[in-house]
Assembly symmetry: C2
Homo-oligomer: 378 residues x 2
């Protein structure tokens, strides 16, 4: 719903994008949030929660073209909101009409999302032959907005604190219910999350909850994501979930341990040490690859390998910048305001898997752990 603080935040964010457009000489920017090509930057800039085109002009005007004008009326903030019907319900035509409506001079630079498929790009350059049509990853608008989005503003951090508080209520209740024997299957664990987060005003879960009992915890991403199998029995169970509050997604993993064998205890002890090690490396100015490299080296010394990255930025998307990945092409640096996951884990086809994950706000000093999930011993 319309909230003055949030509306002001959208205007400030658009201001940053306009500044970037001025600097780059881009006269018109088109964003599209559609099935198969989701782009939550539209929501970040206007509050519109889904399915819309967004046009930003270097003259600092925003035109939103939503599929559902009623939803936009409730949620969205833009200089102009026009129904998709007015723009012929075809993105290419809409773009041409929007350029005219926003008085973009012929010959100007017009930038499309780098998600634009190649055959579609061809139809754009044909229909917009009066413009210099750009579609780029490196140095483009999407990369610039990815960097901007990675550093959360005050309003976003406020929402993250609320989303984290709800997440923490849930992990506490799940622990209680596990100990009371009220959650004994994967379905029960996953649907408990779904029900309880919606009761607390969330839009839903942040992503498909993964609940994997001892028979399935060996997989990083169990398929199907939850079933009627037991949860919390002998060995490792993993519950990886998040909530979505006003669009912002949390992401935590609880490991539930019961009657572990010695090799399982060792896996867990290593994962706990890796988690602490990673947290100690979260500091502003640190390359985002560094905590990941430290954990990879730590596991390697123990003769183990983690088959996934250490973590990632979160926000309106479950995965955004910065990646906490130990790879040469990771050029991100941790900055105050970034919200990231730290999620070391170890997996074994026979022993099962364990993972510990929380969400961390990078501050001026180090990392503030926002969520409070962890190991539960039954």
């Amino acid at each position: 719903m319309r909230d003055p603080a949030r509306q002001a935040a959208y205007a400030l964010r658009r201001g940053k994008v306009y500044d970037w457009m001025s600097g780059e000489g881009v006269a018109l920017l088109m964003l599209e949030d559609a099935e198969g090509r989701r782009d939550s930057t539209v929501r970040w800039l206007t509050g519109q929660p889904g399915d819309a085109l967004l046009f930003l002009s270097v003259a600092r005007k925003a035109l939103l073209v939503p599929w559902d004008i009623n939803i936009a009326g409730i949620y969205a903030e833009a200089d102009y909101i026009r129904s998709y019907g007015e723009f012929d319900r075809l993105p290419v035509k809409a773009c041409r009409k929007a350029a005219a409506f926003l008085k973009i001079p012929h010959g100007s630079k017009l930038e499309l999302s780098p998600l634009t498929p190649y055959p579609r790009f061809l139809t754009f350059i044909e229909a917009l032959d009066n413009f210099d049509v750009l579609c780029r990853e490196e140095g483009g608008a999407a990369a610039a907005m990815e960097s901007l989005r990675a550093v959360k503003d005050e309003e976003e951090i406020r929402l993250y604190r609320r989303a984290s508080a709800i997440t923490n209520e849930l992990t506490e209740l799940i622990e209680k219910n596990l100990k009371a024997g009220k959650i004994t299957t994967e379905i029960e664990a996953a649907l408990f999350v779904d029900t309880e987060c919606r009761k607390r005003g969330c839009e839903g879960t942040g992503f498909e909850t993964l609940a994997a009992g001892p028979s399935r915890s060996f997989a990083i991403h169990a398929f199907p994501s939850y079933t009627g199998e037991g949860f919390g029995g002998k060995g490792f169970s993993i519950l990886d979930f998040g909530v979505k509050y006003a669009g912002y997604i949390t992401d935590v993993t609880m490991t539930v341990a019961r009657d572990l064998s010695k090799p399982q205890e060792r896996m867990l002890a290593l994962t706990e040490k890796a988690y602490k090690l990673a947290l100690s490396k979260v500091r502003p100015g640190t390359p985002a690859a560094e905590p990941a490299a430290a954990v990879d080296a730590f596991f390697a010394r123990a003769g183990k390998t983690m088959p996934h990255a250490l973590g990632h930025g979160i926000g309106l998307d479950a995965h955004e910048g910065p990646p906490l990945r130990n790879r040469g092409d990771n050029h991100w640096t941790l900055e105050p305001g970034m919200v990231i996951t730290i999620e070391p884990g170890l997996y074994d086809p026979k022993l099962g898997g364990c993972r510990l994950e929380n969400d961390v706000l990078v501050t001026g000093q180090g990392g503030e752990v926002l969520t409070a999930s962890g190991l539960i011993r039954l």
Copy 2:
């Protein structure tokens, strides 16, 4: 899990794609199923339920490169299954290596998905400069496979009958629970679907369930999709859901009516007539636009407008060919074996909305309604 009938079906489907490749002179086809670029054709051809590259050679060999080799070991069928690590974890490099592995001669035609973003396409043509790289919508491999997928084979129809039977058990139970006062909120309705479909062996719901009580049924796609609001109270409530069984998605909408006003009764009566009219038009050989045009004309005569298409094909995706849309560019024809939804609806900001939807198998004679959802009066 591996099922001989299903494995045979995958091989038959790949055979049809190889035949098309031969006819078109395409030596190598690359498909990618990844976050942000889902392509369930990979599953249709191999059984792999997610996250993989698939390479098909005109020499009739399939190379699957899954992210999770363990999941592929359980589900997938291909001539070669190699882990993504072996192919450097980068799609462009994987494509170059796959071309060498499958002995594709230099200069051959190599086709990419039309979902390939433009900047990514540029990196492919640079890295694959020994090949003639294609990426097209019209006349391309994806369009050919979309047509093939629209007509379900015997194995798929067998799975659809099972998915429909589960869906029908659910609608019956929902009706009972509504009448017994056991479902009174949107959350209860939506989570009942999720729990009960998984208990019956489904992978989950087919898409995010929409449960909109009287205060929210005016929207075609309520946002958020379900909340703590009441469901089944005075006026119209809508429950739009589907199950996903072995990948195949059903899609039905129940309208729940209580103490309707005269204008609401009229909306409902029109929607019921439109539903029957649409069904009577489902016949093999009929243009897919025709039932939609008939319904649009019927509503127009009553002074009403339906703000969405009449229906769409379903399968491994919630929306696939043929579209039942009244538009000049709809060139699809109904054929035996197609599975489509019929879902007329009317919406009013004050009166709320009603929609009736079932899934229909096009047969040699007409349409066989597979699901049994409908109006529930409380």
